[in-house]
């Protein structure tokens, strides 16, 4: 009964979404205020209906209702309760339902927090969101219904993929999807502005906080995914350049360009067409990511073969949404007025360079991601593009990007003088350079790569600190967005230093170990002192016990595990990680190599600076939140709304 209720709610939601997508928009064309006024209540109603459907699916999971095919495939009576909830988005159908739920949540938030916007604008924005939602709901209902019954019911569920049974994975998809879906709001604002023909500073001001929040969620989601890969996959890597990761990185790169470009559009009225294009691109890449991941064309060929209708549906939807927006863009953008003039060297020109580099980097990642597909389509075989390509292409692009971050915050609008910028930044630059040249000696090995990475990180960190100090000394209230920007930039510096450190100084040992043996990565040594069988709720595991010594002094114990889940044959690695301020120690059990006494392959890593990666991401997230919550936006919105 409950699954049918959920299914019914979902059908109603699709109807409401269609109404929300069509009537308010038609209302703006025919200047029918009553139709426009439908936007807000229909967004709220749609959210309510999708939430009911989502709650129904969740309750089916909690009730172990294995007569629902999706539940039977992704849950199990032994699965701990929190994971039964997380299993709702553990598969294709449920994750799409989560997508739609979050889209409805964003829509209803726009409806609630847009009191000061002109009604026609709200109607257009919510209509665009309604149309997107209609597409996704139609997709779920026609090809991916999570409420489909399995008759006769399965006696026991197949269990959630053990890889996903992890606290990190419980919150990773919702955060990432919040970011993906949030880009739809920036997109909807851009489309509305194009439709209304009023591409002005007010539009940029309205969409800025929404875009920054979406960017913040996306940052957090990607960070969580990376963190999860690091401690759950057991290889000690935190970024693999695989298609799913790239699918999330691309909207992030364009989103980063977008939040900077929106600032220029708001402050100076420039780059309007470019900013709109970025907004369209950011959401298009979110959709493309969904297509790549959900159609299975890249990650797993068999997933697609099982249901070709899914891939075709998303592709048609993608073509409709992106194609029509780009057509609208090509039609309307030529009428956009140019903004204020800008000098060859100015804050505008530096921010434009930032945008261009980010877009080029996105194109490089996109090319690497779909290259196998293109080769495939041209009948040249099936291959995979590995990390070497991405590292080779991506890193050189990041160097100028990171370098201009600081001049970009120092330069004056309109016309900047190189001599002014040099005077302001020369001390910081020289200090960063000196430290970058000297610090590697203290860390053990000197190389050009380390110096470059450290210089860029220190340059951003010191440049940011200097500007904060200058600003604090001056009188006047400092807005939250000022702190937000510099916090996020500082986070980037921490991240860059972290990546440099871990890339250059990590030590990896793969060894064969028996009880009582030890392996040393100076100054740490790891001694295998015990191997026990332990039982979990839905798995058995072997737990290794390691004594860790630093310079011969006992430091701590570490307990990596090798788990075997009842439901699947794949053994899972639970690495033991000890995090310090400057480094992680990482021990994971490989395979049992047999023998008496038992021998195991063991991976021991010394990973300096890994905690800096997470710290950098968290600082960026904090910066994004601060910037989005700036009171200025709410006041500015009020002011802008008065003449309308």
């Amino acid at each position: 009964m409950i699954p049918e209720l959920g299914h019914f709610a979902l059908i109603l939601a699709a109807v409401v979404a269609l109404i929300q997508g069509v009537l308010p928009l038609a209302g703006t064309v025919r200047e029918n205020l009553a139709w426009q006024a439908l936007a807000r209540p229909s967004a709220a109603l749609q959210f309510g209906l999708v939430a009911v459907a989502f709650a129904c699916l969740t309750s089916s999971f909690l009730a172990n209702d294995f007569s629902v095919s999706y539940v039977a495939q992704h849950s199990n009576t032994l699965l701990p309760k929190p994971y039964q909830v997380a299993a709702v988005w553990g598969g294709h159908e449920g994750s799409l339902l989560l997508w739609v739920l979050l889209l409805a949540l964003w829509s209803v938030s726009v409806a609630l927090f847009s009191r000061s916007l002109p009604l026609a604008m709200v109607a257009r924005v919510l209509s665009v969101l309604g149309l997107i939602s209609t597409g996704f709901l139609a997709f779920i209902l026609t090809t991916s219904n999570p409420f489909e019954r399995l008759l006769p019911a399965a006696p026991e569920g197949r269990d959630l993929n053990p890889l996903l049974q992890d606290p990190g994975l419980v919150i990773h998809p919702p955060m990432l999807y919040m970011g993906y879906v949030g880009m739809s709001v920036a997109f909807a604002f851009a489309i509305s502005a194009l439709l209304s023909g009023r591409l002005d500073a007010a539009w940029a001001r309205w969409s800025r906080p929404w875009t920054v929040i979406a960017w913040t969620f996306l940052t957090f989601g990607i960070g969580l995914g990376s963190w999860w890969a690091y401690y759950e996959l057991g290889w000690g890597g935190w970024w693999f350049w695989d298609p799913v990761e790239n699918a999330s990185l691309m909207p992030w790169l364009v989103g980063t360009a977008l939040i900077h470009s929106l600032m220029v559009t708001e402050k100076r009225g420039s780059f309007k067409a470019w900013t709109v294009l970025l907004a369209i691109a950011a959401f298009s890449l979110s959709l493309l990511g969904t297509f790549l991941v959900r159609s299975g064309v890249l990650t797993s060929v068999h997933a697609f073969a099982s249901d070709p209708s899914r891939g075709i549906f998303i592709l048609i939807f993608l073509a409709l949404v992106v194609g029509s927006s780009l057509t609208l863009f090509a039609w309307r953008a030529p009428q956009v007025t140019l903004g204020g003039s800008m000098g060859l060297l100015s804050r505008e020109s530096l921010l434009l360079s930032n945008s261009v580099i980010l877009v080029v980097a996105t194109a490089a990642v996109l090319l690497g991601t779909i290259y196998p597909l293109i080769i495939d389509a041209l009948n040249l075989g099936k291959l995979s593009v590995g990390p070497p390509y991405f590292n080779l292409v991506f890193a050189p692009l990041m160097v100028p990007l990171l370098f201009i971050m600081i001049p970009g915050t120092v330069a004056h609008w309109r016309e900047a003088r190189l001599s002014d910028i040099v005077r302001e930044l020369r001390v910081v630059g020289l200090l960063a350079l000196a430290l970058a040249l000297l610090l590697p000696f203290a860390m053990g090995a000197w190389s050009l790569g380390v110096v470059l990475g450290l210089f860029l990180g220190l340059w951003i960190a010191l440049g940011t600190l200097q500007q904060v100090l200058f600003r604090v000394r001056k009188p006047g209230r400092i807005g939250a967005s000022f702190w937000g920007m510099h916090l996020a930039h500082f986070g980037m510096a921490v991240l860059v230093i972290g990546i440099t450190g871990v890339k250059s100084y990590e030590v990896e040992r793969d060894v064969r170990m028996g009880l009582g043996e030890q392996v040393t990565i100076a100054p740490y040594s790891f001694k295998l002192v015990g191997l026990q069988e332990v039982k979990g709720p839905n798995y058995n595991a072997v737990r290794g016990e390691f004594d860790v010594f630093k310079d011969g002094q006992f430091l701590e114990k570490m307990y990596p595990e090798k788990r075997r889940y009842f439901s699947s044959a794949m053994p899972m690695t639970e690495a033991a990680i000890d995090s310090g301020f400057m480094r992680d120690l990482y021990v994971s059990l490989g395979e049992s190599l047999g023998g008496t006494p038992a021998q195991w392959s063991v991976r021991v890593y010394y990973k300096p600076f890994v905690p800096w990666l997470w710290a950098g991401v968290l600082l960026m997230v904090a910066g994004g939140l601060l910037a989005a919550l700036d009171r200025r936006y709410r006041r500015a919105v009020n002011k802008a709304a008065q003449p309308a």
């Binding site: 068999h302 194609g323 780009l326 495939d376 075989g381």
Partner: protein, 193 residues
């Protein structure tokens, strides 16, 4: 007006590729080498004891699987091969293809013997992690053997009969379905013929 159409044009090009990519199943490409003798080679093995060549398996039906540790698709294919190897149907020979890529940070500039050592280390570690389905693994560092076999991309799989003739070639990931429907029946018929 024209320049504003560029994004649309680029996107439409992308859609065409995506659409073709969706429709196509180019994982089985007719190879000119089918029904031709498997090119001979003599390559160092992973464990380094001796060289290996196709003639060592003459009289047996066997599979040649081209892989590398940098190949993401291989990671996906690997469990399928490991499960298949446990059935002991035929020997599977691994061909480690261009393990050290020219742009490799660590190994790109090494001398040949140091490259081989690094490639062996990486391959051993990778096989320890993911399981080893291969009866033998040979190291094709410079990719010359791969060229002789017409390797398009990694992974690839070949079935070679008792007379040393290539009977089947698969470009891309081998799936359990493909093994059951195509490869295994082929092997059976080759073994009885």
């Amino acid at each position: 007006m024209k320049k504003f159409l560029i994004p649309l044009a680029l996107f439409l090009g992308l859609v065409v590729f995506l659409a073709v990519g969706l429709k196509r199943d180019p994982r089985e490409i007719p190879s000119p080498l089918i029904d031709k003798p498997a090119p001979a080679f003599s390559l160092p093995t992973l464990d380094g004891n001796k060289a290996f060549g196709p003639e060592d398996l003459k009289g047996k039906v066997w599979m040649l699987n081209v892989w590398a540790t940098w190949c993401v698709a291989c990671r996906e294919e690997h469990p399928v091969l490991v499960a298949f190897a446990q059935k002991n149907a035929v020997p599977i020979v691994g061909l480690s293809y261009k393990e050290i890529q020219p742009q490799d940070e660590q190994g790109g500039k090494l001398a040949d013997d140091a490259k081989l050592k690094l490639a062996r280390e990486r391959s051993v570690v990778w096989l320890q992690r993911h399981g080893n389905p291969y009866s033998t693994t040979v190291m094709d560092l410079d990719g010359r053997v791969g060229i002789n076999y017409g390797v398009y991309g990694v992974p690839e799989t070949y079935v070679i009969d008792r007379q040393g003739i290539i009977r089947y070639k698969r470009v891309g990931v081998v799936t359990p379905q493909l093994l059951a429907d195509k490869i295994l029946p082929l092997i059976r018929s080759l073994e009885t013929s």
